[in-house]
């Protein structure tokens, strides 16, 4: 009988998990202990290569891991226990699936012989998380664990990135087996994402681009996921072609907001010039975006006269909502590189001066206009002030979901990718604060700001305690209008101004709340005090809750009303009661 006790690859399942994390270069994980993960926590305790951040709720661990991933391009890792630990991860997993964020969640499970017995803290974790992960695994044999963990990291980060979950029963964590480092054969042979675009399709695309009279580039989160090279190539393509460029919410920062070809964000709360350019263009190049319903407006009136080129790594994104003329399946970076190469070799910069003149006219409508006040802080002004004060600094922005999120997207100028963390697809209120925790863990010396709303921020407020414990100096910049602003806006527009349950009564005193957590609270009411208060917030090297009291009834414009097309936007100066009523008329809209 051979003596395996000296084989360094013989170890317990719990030790394998920590070892696999180290082998995949993981330095920080977010988690919460419980009965079914205690062996793993015991291993974590006895090493120092992987830092564990203790959150206050598993949802916080998931969003923190998302923030970590989005701001670094590396996978985020969360560790949770069975039962409620796993069910609390459903929201962040779904969020990461919608926004294609690489996330590896390891969950504990009751021992294998108890599975199916309704044991204490048992739930069907792989069943519950099947539709909200890219893939998931239940590991029943410790000798499968290494392979599954390595595959999990590969699946999460390759192709279209996404969340994965590995469910490990407690007896498998205790059992001893053989570990092996990552190897190619760990991955399903059936999984092979296509990275290289088809050459013939790329030629077709270049020919369309080279002959375009009214082109537009519409980029999305896929460019950022593809990596810094894709961002560089996108910028080069804009430079070489001279085309105007807009982006989705998820794609902000891939092209700099200060760039001369930048039209601003498109879609429901995008700029007038971005949406009009999309509507009237003759050639559209969509790079790593998915024609989401917040982007397209009315589908049958979406950019009716254009030839559409769509680059996406996921074939199921093609022709899902909008039929395109030239689909190119592949990694954005790869395909952009090929397009650039062919374009530079065979095509000239088309003359689109008259198109730019048209765009200038749309731009002159100044669709982000708002009226400043000396008495009350306008939320748009607060974002602009924050942007001015942080310009040139090493800053990361996260958001919650609602009006403040749209204002942040409209008024904060992003110059680089990976600087903007927001819940785009799922629209998860409560995302921003824990995401900021994750970003700050990844970038300890940077300025990390969560632009928040008073309603959203209360959904995951408990993570302030995490920030204080780990001395993470995140800044929670709350645009406090005492409403669920976006809900109220829709109620005003579509439900006869009946503000059903959208008013935040009994708001906490955010300054005292900050102090109770051991953080710093600041409050500002007057426009004149805003800049000074923001300066103070930035200079404090501790977590800050910044209660920025803003105009309560301000709404977010411009806006594509529901059921309308890109060229039927409601602009801020038109948004009086009568025009609003007309724009939303039809059906029971304004009974």
């Amino acid at each position: 009988m051979s003596d395996k006790s000296h084989d360094p690859n013989q170890m317990t399942g719990a030790a394998m998990i920590v070892r696999a994390l180290i082998d995949h270069g993981v330095t920080d994980i977010f988690g919460y202990p419980g009965g079914a993960v205690l062996p793993i926590y015991d291993e974590i305790f006895q090493q120092s290569q992987v830092q564990h951040i203790l959150v206050r709720h598993e949802q916080g661990a998931g969003h923190a891991a998302e923030g970590y991933a989005r701001s670094t391009g590396k996978p985020g890792v969360a560790l949770v226990t069975s039962g409620p630990g796993a069910t609390n991860m459903v929201t962040p997993l779904t969020d990461a699936l919608m926004d294609s964020i690489p996330l590896v969640c390891i969950s504990g499970q009751v021992p294998t012989h108890l599975i199916g017995n309704d044991a204490f803290q048992e739930c069907d974790t792989v069943g519950i998380t099947r539709p909200c992960t890219k893939h998931n695994w239940l590991v029943r044999d410790v000798n499968d664990l290494a392979k599954v963990l390595h595959e999990a990291f590969y699946v999460a980060t390759s192709g279209r990135p996404g969340p994965v979950l590995v469910d490990v029963p407690k007896d498998v964590q205790f059992a001893t087996g053989t570990y092996h480092p990552p190897r190619k054969s760990d991955v399903h042979r059936s999984y092979a994402p296509r990275l290289k675009g088809d050459a013939a399709q790329i030629r077709k695309a270049v020919s369309l681009l080279a002959n375009a009279k009214r082109p537009v580039i519409y980029s999305g989160g896929g460019v950022i996921n593809s990596g810094l090279e894709a961002t560089k190539l996108l910028r080069e393509l804009v430079e070489v072609t001279g085309f105007p460029i807009t982006s989705t919410l998820m794609g902000l920062g891939a092209y700099p907001a200060s760039g001369k070809n930048w039209l601003g964000m498109l879609g429901m709360h995008g700029t007038y010039e971005a949406n009009m350019t999309m509507h009237d263009c003759d050639v559209m190049l969509c790079v790593g975006a998915r024609f989401d319903d917040r982007i397209t407006g009315r589908v049958d009136a979406f950019s009716p006269g254009s030839k559409k080129i769509h680059i996406d790594i996921d074939p199921s994104s093609i022709n899902k909502n909008i039929r395109v003329d030239v689909p190119i399946i592949g990694d954005c970076g790869n395909v952009l590189g090929d397009i650039l190469q062919v374009f530079k070799a065979e095509a000239k910069k088309p003359d689109i001066r008259s198109w730019w003149q048209q765009i200038a006219q749309w731009r002159a409508r100044n669709s982000l206009y708002y009226k400043k006040s000396n008495d009350v802080i306008l939320p748009q002004h607060a974002i602009q002030a924050l942007f001015e004060q942080t310009r040139g600094k090493d800053t990361y922005i996260t958001t919650e979901v609602g009006q403040h999120q749209m204002w942040a997207a409209q008024f904060y100028g992003f110059e680089e990718p990976h600087r903007w963390m927001t819940s785009g697809g799922l629209g998860t209120m409560g995302y921003g604060l824990p995401a900021a925790v994750g970003v700050q863990v990844a970038h300890p010396d940077s300025l990390v700001i969560d632009i928040a709303g008073d309603a959203s921020v209360q959904m995951t407020m408990q993570e302030m305690s995490t920030a204080v414990q780990y001395e993470l100096p995140i800044k929670i910049f709350i645009l406090n209008n005492q409403y669920m602003g976006m809900v109220r806006q829709w109620q005003q527009l579509l439900h006869g101004n009946r503000l059903s349950h959208s008013y935040s009564e009994a708001l906490p005193d955010f300054v005292k709340l900050a102090e109770a957590y051991g953080a710093v609270g600041l409050q500002v009411h007057k426009p004149a005090d805003l800049d000074g208060a923001i300066k103070e917030m930035i200079s404090v090297k501790r977590p800050v809750l910044f209660d920025c009291r803003v105009a309560a009834l301000e709404n977010c414009f411009p806006m594509i009303p529901s059921g309308k097309a890109h060229n039927e936007m409601l602009l801020p100066e038109q948004a009086n009661d009568e025009a609003t009523a007309k724009a939303f008329a039809g059906g029971k809209a304004l009974v």
């Binding site: 099947r130 893939h135 042979r189 059936s190 589908v299 199921s316 059921g563 809209a589």
Partner: protein, 180 residues
């Protein structure tokens, strides 16, 4: 078109529905069928028929045959959504290849006496159904064929004392020497 009050764009889609038979080759592992079925229910696709069995035990390969209906855009989505699942090797649209054979097996229990019994046996013979169980007052027929043929046989058995039917669902394979 009048829009009801909604934060979503609600549209009527008028493209006609088509019926397609898809052959899906998957890694036979726990949960793989749940993934496929969950995809259909989660995204609101239809399953008209579903047949699944391991086909290559040594390679742990299973073949799932799904009959589904939808507009051409939805059918294309279904194929892409299936194809991007991690344990899915290949998705072949047997209807689109126009070179496939589809078969289904049904066991049909009929109870009756006298003229009904004779007539049932006569029809079974015409449909090349075999008797696989018999009592003095019943038959179980085994019939193989495409879905239409089986539907037709069952309809004919109904007035003759149809008791119950067990069907396998559709299995499909391509014509000619090539595999999928």
């Amino acid at each position: 078109m009048n829009q009801p009050a909604s934060a979503y764009f609600i549209e009527d889609r008028h493209d006609p529905n088509e019926t397609h038979t898809l052959a899906v080759l998957v890694q036979n592992e726990p949960g793989v069928l749940a993934r496929v079925i969950g995809l259909f229910s989660g995204r609101g696709y239809n399953i008209e028929s579903l047949t699944v069995s391991e086909t290559e035990a040594q390679k742990h390969l299973s073949r799932i045959t799904i009959v589904t209906t939808g507009t051409p855009m939805v059918i294309a989505q279904i194929k892409n959504q299936l194809d991007r699942m991690i344990p899915v090797y290949q998705v072949v649209d047997m209807t689109q290849t126009k070179r496939s054979i589809e078969r289904e097996l049904a066991m049909v229990k009929v109870r009756g006496q006298g003229e009904h019994r004779v007539e049932a046996l006569r029809l079974a013979d015409a449909f090349r159904a075999r008797v696989i169980d018999a009592t003095t007052e019943s038959f179980v027929f085994e019939i193989t064929g495409n879905t239409d043929k089986i539907n037709q046989f069952i309809d004919l058995m109904r007035p003759l004392g149809l008791v119950e039917v067990s069907r396998t669902g559709v299995a499909a394979i391509g014509r000619g020497p090539e595999g999928m």
